[in-house]
Protein backbone atom coordinates (compact mmCIF):
# COMPACT_ATOMS: atom_id res chain seq x y z
CA UNK A 1 0.00 0.00 0.00
CA UNK A 2 2.71 2.40 1.06
CA UNK A 3 4.90 1.37 -1.84
CA UNK A 4 1.99 1.98 -4.19
CA UNK A 5 1.52 5.49 -2.87
CA UNK A 6 5.21 6.26 -3.28
CA UNK A 7 5.29 4.82 -6.76
CA UNK A 8 2.40 7.05 -7.66
CA UNK A 9 4.20 10.11 -6.34
CA UNK A 10 7.30 9.18 -8.34
CA UNK A 11 5.27 8.72 -11.51
CA UNK A 12 3.49 12.02 -10.94
CA UNK A 13 6.74 13.90 -10.46
CA UNK A 14 8.32 12.29 -13.50
CA UNK A 15 5.22 13.05 -15.57
CA UNK A 16 5.20 16.71 -14.63
CA UNK A 17 8.93 16.98 -15.18
CA UNK A 18 8.94 15.36 -18.59
CA UNK A 19 5.84 17.16 -19.79
CA UNK A 20 7.44 20.51 -18.94
CA UNK A 21 10.70 19.38 -20.47
CA UNK A 22 8.96 18.26 -23.65
CA UNK A 23 7.28 21.64 -24.01
CA UNK A 24 10.71 23.21 -23.76
CA UNK A 25 12.42 20.82 -26.17
CA UNK A 26 9.61 20.98 -28.68
CA UNK A 27 9.19 24.73 -28.77
CA UNK A 28 12.66 26.09 -28.00
CA UNK A 29 15.37 23.45 -28.06
CA UNK A 30 14.70 21.77 -31.37
CA UNK A 31 15.68 23.65 -34.52
CA UNK A 32 13.10 24.82 -36.98
CA UNK A 33 13.01 23.04 -40.30
CA UNK A 34 13.97 25.25 -43.22
CA UNK A 35 11.86 26.24 -46.15
CA UNK A 36 14.81 25.47 -48.39
CA UNK A 37 14.37 21.81 -47.49
CA UNK A 38 10.93 21.84 -48.98
CA UNK A 39 8.79 22.61 -45.94
CA UNK A 40 6.12 25.17 -46.68
CA UNK A 41 5.13 25.74 -43.08
CA UNK A 42 8.21 25.38 -40.85
CA UNK A 43 6.59 26.60 -37.63
CA UNK A 44 3.71 24.20 -37.94
CA UNK A 45 6.13 21.31 -38.12
CA UNK A 46 6.70 21.70 -34.37
CA UNK A 47 3.37 20.04 -33.78
CA UNK A 48 5.07 16.79 -34.61
CA UNK A 49 6.70 16.75 -31.21
CA UNK A 50 3.18 16.23 -29.86
CA UNK A 51 1.63 14.38 -32.76
CA UNK A 52 4.15 11.55 -32.88
CA UNK A 53 4.18 10.89 -29.11
CA UNK A 54 0.38 10.99 -29.00
CA UNK A 55 0.18 8.48 -31.82
CA UNK A 56 2.83 6.35 -30.15
CA UNK A 57 1.00 6.33 -26.82
CA UNK A 58 -2.29 5.43 -28.46
CA UNK A 59 -0.63 2.46 -30.14
CA UNK A 60 0.93 1.54 -26.81
CA UNK A 61 -2.45 1.80 -25.09
CA UNK A 62 -4.16 -0.36 -27.69
CA UNK A 63 -1.30 -2.82 -27.44
CA UNK A 64 -1.96 -2.99 -23.71
CA UNK A 65 -5.66 -3.62 -24.45
CA UNK A 66 -4.61 -6.52 -26.67
CA UNK A 67 -2.33 -8.09 -24.09
CA UNK A 68 -4.79 -7.61 -21.23
CA UNK A 69 -7.57 -9.10 -23.35
CA UNK A 70 -5.50 -12.20 -23.99
CA UNK A 71 -4.72 -12.49 -20.28
CA UNK A 72 -8.37 -11.97 -19.38
CA UNK A 73 -9.51 -14.73 -21.70
CA UNK A 74 -6.88 -17.01 -20.23
CA UNK A 75 -7.91 -16.74 -16.59
CA UNK A 76 -10.84 -14.31 -16.45
CA UNK A 77 -9.48 -12.22 -13.60
CA UNK A 78 -11.38 -8.95 -13.27
CA UNK A 79 -8.21 -6.88 -12.93
CA UNK A 80 -7.05 -7.65 -16.48
CA UNK A 81 -10.37 -6.51 -17.79
CA UNK A 82 -10.26 -3.33 -15.74
CA UNK A 83 -6.84 -2.49 -17.13
CA UNK A 84 -7.96 -3.25 -20.68
CA UNK A 85 -10.99 -1.01 -20.39
CA UNK A 86 -9.05 1.85 -18.80
CA UNK A 87 -6.31 1.56 -21.39
CA UNK A 88 -8.82 1.60 -24.24
CA UNK A 89 -10.39 4.79 -22.95
CA UNK A 90 -7.06 6.56 -22.59
CA UNK A 91 -5.92 5.19 -25.93
CA UNK A 92 -8.95 6.70 -27.62
CA UNK A 93 -8.14 10.08 -26.02
CA UNK A 94 -4.55 10.05 -27.26
CA UNK A 95 -5.61 8.72 -30.61
CA UNK A 96 -8.02 11.63 -30.89
CA UNK A 97 -5.11 13.96 -30.16
CA UNK A 98 -3.04 12.31 -32.87
CA UNK A 99 -5.72 12.50 -35.52
CA UNK A 100 -6.53 16.09 -34.62
CA UNK A 101 -2.93 17.33 -34.62
CA UNK A 102 -2.23 15.58 -37.93
CA UNK A 103 -4.76 17.60 -39.95
CA UNK A 104 -3.84 20.85 -38.17
CA UNK A 105 -0.39 20.46 -39.60
CA UNK A 106 -1.70 19.14 -42.90
CA UNK A 107 -3.75 22.30 -43.40
CA UNK A 108 -0.69 24.46 -42.86
CA UNK A 109 1.67 22.35 -44.94
CA UNK A 110 -0.49 20.94 -47.70
CA UNK A 111 -3.43 23.33 -47.56
CA UNK A 112 -5.84 20.47 -46.94
CA UNK A 113 -6.82 18.93 -43.66
CA UNK A 114 -6.77 15.34 -44.62
CA UNK A 115 -5.11 13.32 -47.31
CA UNK A 116 -6.54 9.89 -47.46
CA UNK A 117 -3.44 8.75 -49.27
CA UNK A 118 -1.63 9.20 -45.98
CA UNK A 119 -1.92 5.60 -44.87
CA UNK A 120 -0.45 6.07 -41.40
CA UNK A 121 -3.02 8.70 -40.60
CA UNK A 122 -5.77 6.62 -42.18
CA UNK A 123 -4.83 3.51 -40.23
CA UNK A 124 -4.68 5.53 -37.03
CA UNK A 125 -8.12 6.84 -37.86
CA UNK A 126 -9.47 3.34 -38.45
CA UNK A 127 -7.91 2.21 -35.20
CA UNK A 128 -9.68 5.08 -33.51
CA UNK A 129 -12.97 3.89 -35.02
CA UNK A 130 -12.31 0.32 -33.89
CA UNK A 131 -11.70 1.30 -30.31
CA UNK A 132 -14.61 3.67 -30.30
CA UNK A 133 -16.68 0.64 -31.28
CA UNK A 134 -14.94 -1.27 -28.49
CA UNK A 135 -16.07 1.32 -25.95
CA UNK A 136 -19.59 1.19 -27.36
CA UNK A 137 -19.62 -2.59 -27.05
CA UNK A 138 -18.75 -2.27 -23.40
CA UNK A 139 -21.47 0.35 -23.06
CA UNK A 140 -20.92 1.39 -19.48
CA UNK A 141 -22.66 -1.66 -18.06
CA UNK A 142 -20.22 -3.88 -16.30
CA UNK A 143 -20.74 -7.58 -16.84
CA UNK A 144 -18.56 -10.57 -17.35
CA UNK A 145 -20.31 -11.38 -20.55
CA UNK A 146 -19.42 -8.05 -22.08
CA UNK A 147 -15.93 -8.13 -20.70
CA UNK A 148 -15.34 -11.40 -22.50
CA UNK A 149 -16.85 -10.26 -25.77
CA UNK A 150 -14.94 -6.99 -25.60
CA UNK A 151 -11.75 -8.94 -25.03
CA UNK A 152 -12.35 -10.94 -28.20
CA UNK A 153 -13.16 -7.77 -30.12
CA UNK A 154 -10.08 -6.01 -28.76
CA UNK A 155 -7.93 -8.87 -30.01
CA UNK A 156 -9.50 -8.78 -33.46
CA UNK A 157 -9.19 -5.01 -33.65
CA UNK A 158 -5.59 -4.86 -32.70
CA UNK A 159 -4.54 -7.88 -34.75
CA UNK A 160 -5.67 -6.07 -37.89
CA UNK A 161 -3.34 -3.15 -37.31
CA UNK A 162 0.21 -4.31 -37.91
CA UNK A 163 -1.06 -6.18 -40.92
CA UNK A 164 -2.81 -3.12 -42.24
CA UNK A 165 0.55 -1.37 -42.15
CA UNK A 166 2.17 -4.11 -44.16
CA UNK A 167 -0.65 -4.30 -46.64
CA UNK A 168 -0.81 -0.54 -46.97
CA UNK A 169 2.51 -0.51 -48.75
CA UNK A 170 0.48 -1.21 -51.80
CA UNK A 171 -1.11 2.21 -51.52
CA UNK A 172 1.91 4.39 -51.55
CA UNK A 173 2.17 6.45 -48.41
CA UNK A 174 2.22 10.23 -48.29
CA UNK A 175 3.04 10.31 -44.61
CA UNK A 176 5.78 12.86 -44.00
CA UNK A 177 9.03 11.54 -42.69
CA UNK A 178 9.54 14.19 -40.07
CA UNK A 179 12.44 12.68 -38.29
CA UNK A 180 14.68 12.57 -41.29
CA UNK A 181 16.34 15.67 -42.67
CA UNK A 182 16.91 16.16 -46.34
CA UNK A 183 20.12 14.16 -46.06
CA UNK A 184 18.06 11.26 -44.85
CA UNK A 185 19.50 11.11 -41.37
CA UNK A 186 17.85 12.38 -38.24
CA UNK A 187 19.39 15.40 -36.63
CA UNK A 188 20.22 14.71 -33.02
CA UNK A 189 18.14 17.62 -31.74
CA UNK A 190 15.07 16.36 -33.55
CA UNK A 191 15.69 12.90 -32.18
CA UNK A 192 16.00 14.16 -28.61
CA UNK A 193 12.89 16.29 -29.03
CA UNK A 194 10.84 13.32 -30.16
CA UNK A 195 12.31 11.06 -27.51
CA UNK A 196 11.50 13.49 -24.72
CA UNK A 197 7.97 13.81 -26.09
CA UNK A 198 7.51 10.06 -26.21
CA UNK A 199 8.84 9.60 -22.67
CA UNK A 200 6.66 12.43 -21.35
CA UNK A 201 3.51 11.06 -22.99
CA UNK A 202 4.31 7.55 -21.83
CA UNK A 203 4.56 8.71 -18.22
CA UNK A 204 1.38 10.67 -18.66
CA UNK A 205 -0.26 7.52 -19.94
CA UNK A 206 0.99 5.52 -17.01
CA UNK A 207 -0.27 8.11 -14.57
CA UNK A 208 -3.68 8.33 -16.20
CA UNK A 209 -3.98 4.56 -16.41
CA UNK A 210 -3.31 4.14 -12.70
CA UNK A 211 -5.81 6.86 -11.86
CA UNK A 212 -8.43 5.37 -14.13
CA UNK A 213 -7.96 1.93 -12.60
CA UNK A 214 -8.16 3.41 -9.11
CA UNK A 215 -11.44 5.10 -10.02
CA UNK A 216 -12.78 1.84 -11.39
CA UNK A 217 -11.82 0.01 -8.22
CA UNK A 218 -13.37 2.72 -6.11
CA UNK A 219 -16.59 2.43 -8.10
CA UNK A 220 -16.76 -1.32 -7.58
CA UNK A 221 -16.06 -0.85 -3.87
CA UNK A 222 -18.98 1.56 -3.70
CA UNK A 223 -21.17 -1.01 -5.42
CA UNK A 224 -20.11 -3.59 -2.85
CA UNK A 225 -20.97 -1.23 -0.02
CA UNK A 226 -24.29 -0.35 -1.62
CA UNK A 227 -25.10 -4.03 -1.79
CA UNK A 228 -24.23 -4.45 1.86
CA UNK A 229 -26.55 -1.63 2.86
CA UNK A 230 -29.34 -2.45 0.45
CA UNK A 231 -29.21 -6.23 0.63
CA UNK A 232 -30.41 -8.07 3.67
Amino acid sequence: MKFDKRLETVILILTVFFVLLSIYTALIYTPEVREEDGWSAPKAQKIFYFHVPAAWVSFLAFGVVFIMSVLYLKNSLRKWDTIAFASAEIGVVFCTLAIVTGPIWGKAEWGVYWRWEDTKLTITFVLWLIFLAYLLLRGGVESENKARLAAVFGIIGFACVPLSFISSRIWQSMHPNVVATSEGSMSSETGIGLLVGVVAFSFLYMFMLRKRIAIQEMASKIEDLKEKIGGI
Binding site: S76, E142, S143, E144, S220, E223, D224, G231
Partner: protein, 236 residues
Protein backbone atom coordinates in the same frame (compact mmCIF):
# COMPACT_ATOMS: atom_id res chain seq x y z
CA UNK B 1 -18.21 -43.72 -8.70
CA UNK B 2 -20.54 -40.75 -8.50
CA UNK B 3 -22.06 -39.75 -11.83
CA UNK B 4 -22.31 -36.10 -10.87
CA UNK B 5 -19.77 -34.60 -8.52
CA UNK B 6 -19.93 -30.89 -7.73
CA UNK B 7 -17.26 -29.40 -5.50
CA UNK B 8 -17.19 -25.85 -4.17
CA UNK B 9 -18.91 -24.57 -7.24
CA UNK B 10 -19.23 -20.81 -7.55
CA UNK B 11 -20.83 -18.72 -10.24
CA UNK B 12 -20.88 -14.96 -10.33
CA UNK B 13 -22.54 -12.67 -12.80
CA UNK B 14 -20.56 -9.49 -12.41
CA UNK B 15 -20.71 -8.84 -8.72
CA UNK B 16 -23.78 -10.96 -8.13
CA UNK B 17 -23.04 -14.35 -6.65
CA UNK B 18 -25.59 -16.80 -7.97
CA UNK B 19 -24.00 -20.02 -6.78
CA UNK B 20 -21.83 -20.05 -3.69
CA UNK B 21 -19.79 -23.00 -2.57
CA UNK B 22 -22.20 -25.52 -3.89
CA UNK B 23 -21.43 -29.14 -3.12
CA UNK B 24 -23.55 -31.96 -4.43
CA UNK B 25 -23.15 -35.53 -5.53
CA UNK B 26 -25.31 -38.02 -7.35
CA UNK B 27 -24.39 -41.67 -7.52
CA UNK B 28 -24.45 -43.42 -10.82
CA UNK B 29 -27.99 -44.58 -11.49
CA UNK B 30 -29.46 -42.31 -8.88
CA UNK B 31 -32.60 -40.23 -9.35
CA UNK B 32 -31.93 -36.84 -7.80
CA UNK B 33 -34.63 -34.20 -7.64
CA UNK B 34 -33.89 -30.59 -6.87
CA UNK B 35 -36.34 -27.95 -5.72
CA UNK B 36 -35.87 -24.32 -5.04
CA UNK B 37 -37.57 -20.95 -5.15
CA UNK B 38 -37.38 -18.72 -8.25
CA UNK B 39 -33.95 -17.24 -8.69
CA UNK B 40 -32.22 -19.77 -6.47
CA UNK B 41 -29.80 -20.64 -9.26
CA UNK B 42 -31.19 -23.95 -10.48
CA UNK B 43 -31.08 -23.12 -14.17
CA UNK B 44 -27.64 -21.63 -13.73
CA UNK B 45 -26.50 -24.89 -12.15
CA UNK B 46 -27.88 -26.97 -15.02
CA UNK B 47 -26.20 -24.66 -17.53
CA UNK B 48 -22.87 -25.17 -15.84
CA UNK B 49 -23.34 -28.94 -15.65
CA UNK B 50 -24.16 -29.02 -19.34
CA UNK B 51 -21.07 -26.93 -20.27
CA UNK B 52 -23.16 -24.02 -21.55
CA UNK B 53 -21.84 -21.73 -18.90
CA UNK B 54 -18.42 -21.58 -17.31
CA UNK B 55 -18.11 -21.78 -13.53
CA UNK B 56 -16.34 -18.92 -11.78
CA UNK B 57 -14.56 -21.44 -9.60
CA UNK B 58 -14.91 -24.97 -8.34
CA UNK B 59 -14.97 -28.36 -10.01
CA UNK B 60 -17.60 -30.48 -11.63
CA UNK B 61 -17.07 -34.05 -12.75
CA UNK B 62 -19.71 -35.86 -14.78
CA UNK B 63 -19.26 -39.58 -15.33
CA UNK B 64 -15.58 -39.13 -14.70
CA UNK B 65 -15.17 -36.24 -17.14
CA UNK B 66 -14.22 -32.77 -16.01
CA UNK B 67 -16.59 -30.16 -17.45
CA UNK B 68 -13.77 -27.71 -18.09
CA UNK B 69 -11.13 -30.01 -19.48
CA UNK B 70 -13.24 -32.65 -21.20
CA UNK B 71 -16.32 -30.71 -22.19
CA UNK B 72 -16.67 -32.66 -25.42
CA UNK B 73 -16.94 -35.98 -23.59
CA UNK B 74 -19.31 -34.45 -21.07
CA UNK B 75 -21.57 -33.24 -23.84
CA UNK B 76 -21.86 -36.67 -25.36
CA UNK B 77 -22.71 -38.26 -21.98
CA UNK B 78 -25.52 -35.90 -21.09
CA UNK B 79 -28.99 -35.28 -22.39
CA UNK B 80 -30.49 -31.93 -21.52
CA UNK B 81 -34.18 -31.14 -21.49
CA UNK B 82 -35.49 -27.76 -20.45
CA UNK B 83 -38.56 -25.65 -21.14
CA UNK B 84 -37.04 -24.79 -24.50
CA UNK B 85 -37.20 -27.72 -26.92
CA UNK B 86 -34.09 -26.66 -28.95
CA UNK B 87 -35.80 -27.68 -32.17
CA UNK B 88 -36.13 -25.87 -35.48
CA UNK B 89 -39.63 -24.70 -36.23
CA UNK B 90 -39.09 -24.70 -39.98
CA UNK B 91 -37.97 -28.31 -40.14
CA UNK B 92 -40.16 -31.38 -39.73
CA UNK B 93 -39.72 -33.59 -36.71
CA UNK B 94 -37.93 -36.14 -38.81
CA UNK B 95 -35.55 -33.56 -40.25
CA UNK B 96 -34.87 -32.25 -36.77
CA UNK B 97 -34.01 -35.71 -35.54
CA UNK B 98 -31.82 -36.41 -38.55
CA UNK B 99 -30.05 -33.10 -38.03
CA UNK B 100 -29.33 -33.84 -34.39
CA UNK B 101 -28.18 -37.37 -35.11
CA UNK B 102 -25.70 -35.88 -37.56
CA UNK B 103 -24.55 -33.50 -34.87
CA UNK B 104 -23.96 -36.45 -32.57
CA UNK B 105 -22.33 -38.39 -35.40
CA UNK B 106 -24.91 -41.16 -35.20
CA UNK B 107 -26.16 -43.25 -38.04
CA UNK B 108 -29.91 -43.47 -37.66
CA UNK B 109 -32.03 -45.32 -40.14
CA UNK B 110 -35.68 -44.67 -40.80
CA UNK B 111 -36.78 -47.43 -38.46
CA UNK B 112 -34.94 -46.26 -35.33
CA UNK B 113 -36.23 -42.74 -35.88
CA UNK B 114 -39.73 -44.09 -36.15
CA UNK B 115 -39.35 -46.12 -32.96
CA UNK B 116 -38.09 -42.98 -31.28
CA UNK B 117 -41.04 -40.91 -32.46
CA UNK B 118 -43.40 -43.68 -31.43
CA UNK B 119 -41.95 -43.69 -27.96
CA UNK B 120 -42.96 -40.08 -27.45
CA UNK B 121 -46.27 -40.59 -29.25
CA UNK B 122 -45.54 -38.48 -32.29
CA UNK B 123 -45.24 -41.14 -34.98
CA UNK B 124 -48.17 -39.73 -36.92
CA UNK B 125 -46.61 -36.23 -36.96
CA UNK B 126 -43.14 -37.28 -38.16
CA UNK B 127 -43.40 -35.26 -41.34
CA UNK B 128 -45.01 -32.12 -39.92
CA UNK B 129 -43.09 -29.01 -39.17
CA UNK B 130 -42.29 -28.58 -35.53
CA UNK B 131 -43.52 -24.99 -35.73
CA UNK B 132 -47.02 -26.33 -36.14
CA UNK B 133 -46.82 -28.43 -33.00
CA UNK B 134 -48.54 -27.44 -29.79
CA UNK B 135 -46.40 -26.58 -26.78
CA UNK B 136 -46.76 -30.06 -25.31
CA UNK B 137 -46.01 -31.78 -28.60
CA UNK B 138 -42.87 -29.74 -28.94
CA UNK B 139 -41.83 -30.88 -25.51
CA UNK B 140 -42.45 -34.49 -26.51
CA UNK B 141 -40.38 -33.96 -29.60
CA UNK B 142 -37.67 -32.52 -27.40
CA UNK B 143 -37.71 -35.71 -25.37
CA UNK B 144 -37.04 -37.62 -28.57
CA UNK B 145 -34.09 -35.32 -29.27
CA UNK B 146 -32.70 -35.88 -25.79
CA UNK B 147 -32.78 -39.65 -25.88
CA UNK B 148 -31.48 -39.80 -29.43
CA UNK B 149 -27.89 -40.49 -28.40
CA UNK B 150 -28.88 -42.61 -25.41
CA UNK B 151 -27.08 -40.53 -22.79
CA UNK B 152 -26.24 -42.15 -19.44
CA UNK B 153 -26.87 -38.90 -17.58
CA UNK B 154 -30.03 -36.82 -17.94
CA UNK B 155 -30.31 -33.22 -16.81
CA UNK B 156 -33.85 -31.90 -16.76
CA UNK B 157 -34.79 -28.32 -15.98
CA UNK B 158 -38.53 -28.05 -15.34
CA UNK B 159 -39.38 -30.38 -18.22
CA UNK B 160 -43.01 -30.60 -17.22
CA UNK B 161 -43.85 -27.03 -18.13
CA UNK B 162 -46.75 -26.96 -20.56
CA UNK B 163 -47.43 -30.68 -20.69
CA UNK B 164 -50.94 -32.05 -20.55
CA UNK B 165 -51.86 -35.00 -18.37
CA UNK B 166 -51.05 -37.59 -21.02
CA UNK B 167 -47.72 -36.08 -21.92
CA UNK B 168 -46.98 -35.75 -18.25
CA UNK B 169 -47.56 -39.45 -17.75
CA UNK B 170 -45.51 -40.24 -20.81
CA UNK B 171 -42.54 -38.21 -19.57
CA UNK B 172 -42.81 -39.75 -16.12
CA UNK B 173 -42.91 -43.23 -17.65
CA UNK B 174 -39.88 -42.48 -19.76
CA UNK B 175 -38.00 -41.18 -16.74
CA UNK B 176 -38.96 -44.30 -14.77
CA UNK B 177 -37.79 -46.50 -17.61
CA UNK B 178 -34.47 -44.68 -17.77
CA UNK B 179 -34.08 -44.99 -14.07
CA UNK B 180 -34.62 -48.72 -14.32
CA UNK B 181 -32.05 -48.89 -17.09
CA UNK B 182 -29.56 -47.43 -14.64
CA UNK B 183 -29.30 -43.93 -16.04
CA UNK B 184 -28.51 -41.08 -13.70
CA UNK B 185 -31.27 -38.49 -13.59
CA UNK B 186 -31.06 -34.98 -12.25
CA UNK B 187 -34.48 -33.35 -12.29
CA UNK B 188 -35.40 -29.82 -11.36
CA UNK B 189 -39.03 -29.14 -10.68
CA UNK B 190 -41.37 -26.94 -8.70
CA UNK B 191 -43.84 -29.76 -8.21
CA UNK B 192 -43.13 -31.22 -4.81
CA UNK B 193 -45.61 -34.12 -5.06
CA UNK B 194 -44.23 -35.29 -8.35
CA UNK B 195 -40.61 -34.89 -7.32
CA UNK B 196 -41.18 -36.70 -4.10
CA UNK B 197 -43.02 -39.51 -5.87
CA UNK B 198 -40.47 -40.32 -8.56
CA UNK B 199 -37.19 -39.16 -6.98
CA UNK B 200 -34.83 -41.16 -4.81
CA UNK B 201 -32.96 -38.33 -3.25
CA UNK B 202 -34.20 -34.78 -2.75
CA UNK B 203 -32.32 -31.52 -2.48
CA UNK B 204 -33.41 -27.94 -1.97
CA UNK B 205 -31.42 -25.07 -3.40
CA UNK B 206 -31.75 -21.67 -1.74
CA UNK B 207 -29.58 -18.65 -2.49
CA UNK B 208 -27.16 -20.70 -4.52
CA UNK B 209 -26.49 -23.23 -1.78
CA UNK B 210 -27.85 -26.68 -1.10
CA UNK B 211 -29.90 -25.85 1.99
CA UNK B 212 -31.29 -29.31 2.55
CA UNK B 213 -30.66 -32.79 1.27
CA UNK B 214 -32.28 -36.10 2.16
CA UNK B 215 -33.12 -39.60 1.03
CA UNK B 216 -36.74 -39.89 0.10
CA UNK B 217 -37.24 -42.96 2.23
CA UNK B 218 -36.26 -40.97 5.32
CA UNK B 219 -38.85 -38.28 4.82
CA UNK B 220 -42.53 -38.42 3.97
CA UNK B 221 -44.16 -35.91 1.70
CA UNK B 222 -45.78 -33.81 4.42
CA UNK B 223 -42.58 -33.41 6.39
CA UNK B 224 -40.71 -32.52 3.22
CA UNK B 225 -43.29 -29.95 2.20
CA UNK B 226 -43.01 -28.35 5.61
CA UNK B 227 -39.25 -28.21 5.30
CA UNK B 228 -39.46 -26.71 1.80
CA UNK B 229 -41.90 -24.00 2.80
CA UNK B 230 -39.74 -23.17 5.76
CA UNK B 231 -36.72 -22.65 3.54
CA UNK B 232 -38.60 -20.71 0.84
CA UNK B 233 -38.64 -17.57 2.95
CA UNK B 234 -34.86 -17.42 3.06
CA UNK B 235 -34.53 -16.75 -0.69
CA UNK B 236 -33.50 -13.18 -1.40
Amino acid sequence: MPAIEIKNLQKRFGRKKVLCDLNLEAESGEFLVMFGPNGAGKTTLIKILSTLSRPSSGNVIINGFDIKEESMEVRSTIGVLSHNPFLYDDLTLKENLIFYSRMYKLKKDEKTLKTLADEVGLLHRMNDRVGQFSRGMKQRAAVARVILHNPPVLLLDEPYTGLDYKAWEMLTDILRKFHEEGKTIFLITHNVELGHRIGERLAILVNGKVAFECEKKNMDIEAFKGKYHGLMGAQK
